[in-house]
Symmetry: C2
Subunit: 215 residues, 2 copies
């Protein structure tokens, strides 16, 4: 239905729109301008973002909150539950386990992998931990499509390689180093020190940057 192709930024904004819509009552109506205001964007951008995935509004009346919520959820793939493989079950790994363990979460950490023999074979926060060599077998059998890497930097590339071999489709990399994956695997780096460095770079070189509108 939609002619143009979406940018990754559009996806991340959809995710933000959705968070905001979740706090509104289902029957309410909302216009693109109203929605934009709460996110510091423009109505045009909201409409464009939505247009990549379909036509959800009614001219002169705006969008029905309930319907819009449903459609954005579908566009983001949140109309199902996604099992996840966690590679590296240290402190950060445990925080993630807790963070995703809430009732309505669409993400569910299904298995963990760690080289530490004190962890393998056990359950941590209810999740079974295996040695990484079992990754391909387990990930395939359990039809897992997403992996999260929370290992130390030294083990990150190796972990990514194993995930790729296992047929994973997307990787969230929390480690402090970049990893390389084939282009058919969607990779997102979420190490926060990199983000801090972007901020300091920006503070130090203000005038050397394009204006940059957000995120």
């Amino acid at each position: 239905m939609p002619k143009e192709k979406a940018s990754e930024n559009a996806a991340i904004r959809l995710s933000l729109y959705l968070r905001y819509l979740r706090e509104m009552r289902e029957e309410t109506r909302i216009s693109s301008e109203q929605l934009a205001e709460f996110l510091g964007t423009s109505g045009a951008r909201v409409r464009k973002d939505l247009s990549y995935f379909g036509q959800f509004g009614t001219p002169s009346k705006g969008y029905r909150v309930g319907k819009l919520r449903e459609e954005i959820s579908k566009a983001l793939g949140l109309d199902r539950v996604w099992p996840i493989a966690l590679v590296g079950v240290g402190k950060l790994g445990r925080v993630l386990l807790n963070n995703l363990a809430f009732e309505k979460s669409r993400f569910h950490i299904q298995v963990g992998f760690d080289v530490n023999p004190n962890k393998t074979g056990r359950r941590i926060a209810g999740v079974k931990i295996y040695h990484p060599y079992q990754m391909p077998k387990i990930i395939r059998k359990q039809k897992i499509h997403i992996g999260m890497i929370t290992t130390p930097a030294e083990a990150a590339q190796e972990s990514a390689d194993l995930l790729v071999i296992s047929g994973i489709k997307g990787i969230l990399n929390f480690s402090s180093t970049g990893v390389v994956v084939p282009s058919y695997v969607k990779l997102k780096n979420v190490d926060f020190t990199s983000q801090l460095e972007v901020i300091t770079c920006y503070i130090v070189n203000n005038q050397r940057f394009h204006l940059s509108r957000g995120n």
Copy 2:
């Protein structure tokens, strides 16, 4: 010296280049192609990224690792230590405290803020915790330029507002909701569930996206 302006993406890649260079010996030389290969990019992109900040190489010989490391560090503002204010000292906050507490970290969490009276007045992991109403005074006095928000979603906007009033220049927002800040404040959202949603969106709608080269 450089004519063109940098993109934020350039900054994030510089940060990655630097991580890689840190593992090499200082006296070594490296070409843009070699550096690119380890990060899954092209030599042209590496050279362009560097060119925003100066001219660091020698034709036909490449870059000296030591010099390049130094120059990128300077470009990213990592030639100094940055004090940081942490708003919300829960589980995630403590993980960040630990994560940044290593010897050579250029980021140092200097104060924490939390509304919980069991925390205010105490020290947690060596860091003094105050009530948020004291933010403007303390942040100004201690000349802090960066804030990290790790509060629950409900308190995120309020925290951001206080940080802005306190004269902060950059904010790293870990909360699960977007916040709005004036354009002179550099904001980065690092909530990982948003990133997961980008991945699922991508998996579900592959063909609806531009090719997307990385990150």
